[in-house]
């Protein structure tokens, strides 16, 4: 489908999000799905980001606020635990950092080019960043 231009798109044809047969997508997590090339999941918007959220596991209380309020399905939660950020689909809006309730926050925004290991090592001890009132 992708090789053809939009004007070669046949009337009545369907863009299929999955390759092959899918039984019940509502209980299959993304890592077990057979995405087709027509699914927007197979492309990345990582180049939209100016700042990226970094996640410090030790501070997380698994409240899942970041999961529910993420507009880009980029907070990966499995078995009620927050396990990381999907940097292929994160647009860097920063909502996850704003809604994070811990002090210091388990998620903070850093410039896109920041090194993850260095920033995780020197994570702020107290709330040094100016947090806006929610």
């Amino acid at each position: 489908m992708i090789e053809n231009g939009w004007n070669q798109f046949e009337i009545g044809s369907v863009l299929r999000p999955f390759s092959g047969e899918v039984s019940d997508v509502s209980v299959i997590q993304p890592e077990d799905r057979l995405y087709s090339a027509s699914n927007s999941f197979s492309v990345s918007v990582a180049d939209w980001r100016i700042e990226k959220p970094l996640f410090k596991k030790e501070l997380c209380i698994d409240c899942q606020f970041c999961w529910i309020y993420c507009p880009d399905m980029s907070i990966i939660s499995r078995d009620k635990k927050m396990i990381g950020v999907d940097y292929d689909h994160c647009k860097g809006c920063g909502i996850c950092v704003q809604v994070c309730p811990t002090t210091p926050k388990a998620l903070l925004m850093f410039p896109e080019q920041a090194d993850e290991e260095i920033e995780l090592a020197q994570w702020p001890k107290k709330e040094t960043q100016e947090t806006k009132e929610n």
């Binding site: 999000p17 209980v27 993304p30 699914n39 927007s40 918007v45 899942q64 507009p71 689909h89 920063g94």
Partner: protein, 317 residues
């Protein structure tokens, strides 16, 4: 189909999203937060429709689709009738015994922006509600035609600066008040009409599930804070939504069978409307000597509306 557990957020977070990333919605857009909360509220099969608007334009960019379920878009005005048609066909095939899996109970949901709901598609929605299709209409109310560059819609509130009602020396922006779509849809005698906001996820998911369990047309008006046209930073989407619900600019309530009104969220500390207006760039001009009276008018309008809702809830009419 297994029931979705929404007792708490940890349980809810085990749901598998059926809406995919890398759509072209702005960073911090509330549309996809609403879509996720609606789609995760059920494990049943979904048949979705969309009217033209930000959501449709950004999630179906050829040759990609962001939807993992059946999804159809036809025009600006007829997202509702497209889904009504699908629902009617499903019913007809079921009655004729021609469905391959007759025991499935797919849910028919359609999404439209406030332009497609309040203005352009209104006649079609009204028709669907009059005919009584078993479907849910979700209005993503961002109070402006955000997709085409921020023109005013009939949902734009008084004082907002939109591109066709710009604020300046002689005008304070939009001059007419927002249409009361909830009362209009309830007047159709719809079994369930509810107003929701994405920051109150539990309230929203409960209302959506209630809507799914009801036979007949359901209308959901979801506030969708627009970072681009309301002019606030993308990370503040939830904070602005909180301000809207706490200041009662956007009260959360439901109307059952067109008459019985329930208020589902009462803020502990009601914030002044000034806080909500001050957080957004589209109301910046109201904080000048010339237009300050608009804020006081606004506050009295919100108070009157809240008073009315409470009286109606008490009266059970």
């Amino acid at each position: 189909m297994s029931q979705v557990k929404t007792k708490n957020l940890k349980n809810f977070s085990t749901s598998a999203d059926r809406f995919e990333g890398s759509n072209l919605l702005c960073p911090g857009c509330a549309h996809s937060i609403i879509v996720r909360e609606v789609l995760n509220a059920t494990n049943d099969h979904l048949i979705l429709g969309a009217s033209t608007g930000c959501l449709e334009v950004c999630t179906a960019v050829y040759p990609h689709t962001s939807w993992d379920v059946s999804w159809i878009h036809i025009g600006f005005e007829n997202g509702s009738s497209a889904i009504a048609g699908a629902e009617a066909m499903h019913k007809a095939l079921k009655n004729k015994g021609r469905l391959k899996q007759p025991d499935l109970t797919p849910k028919f949901v359609t999404f439209g922006g406030d332009g497609a709901t309040y203005d352009i598609g209104f006649q079609w929605i009204s028709g669907c509600f009059e005919r009584g299709h078993n479907m849910m209409y979700v209005c993503l109310d961002n109070e402006v035609y955000a997709n085409t560059g921020g023109q005013r819609s009939s949902s734009t509130p008084i004082g907002a600066s939109a591109s066709t009602t710009p604020a300046g020396r002689i005008s304070y922006g939009e001059k007419r008040n927002k249409k009361d779509i909830m009362a209009i849809m309830a007047a159709h005698g719809a079994p369930y009409v509810a107003q929701v906001a994405p920051n109150k996820w539990r309230d929203m998911v409960a209302k959506v599930q209630k809507g799914f369990s009801i036979e007949g047309p359901v209308f959901i008006n979801a506030m969708s804070a627009c970072t681009t046209e309301w002019k606030f930073a993308p990370e503040d989407t939830i904070a602005i939504s909180d301000l809207a619900t706490e200041s009662l600019v956007f009260p959360l309530y439901e109307i059952i069978d067109g008459t019985k009104l329930n208020i589902t969220y009462r803020p502990k500390n009601v914030l002044p409307v000034r806080d909500y207006l001050g957080a957004q760039g589209r109301f910046k001009h109201l904080f000048t000597k010339q237009y300050e009276y608009i804020i006081d008018e606004w506050q009295s309008r919100v108070d009157a509306k809240w008073e009315y809702l409470q009286r109606r809830e008490d009266a059970c009419v």
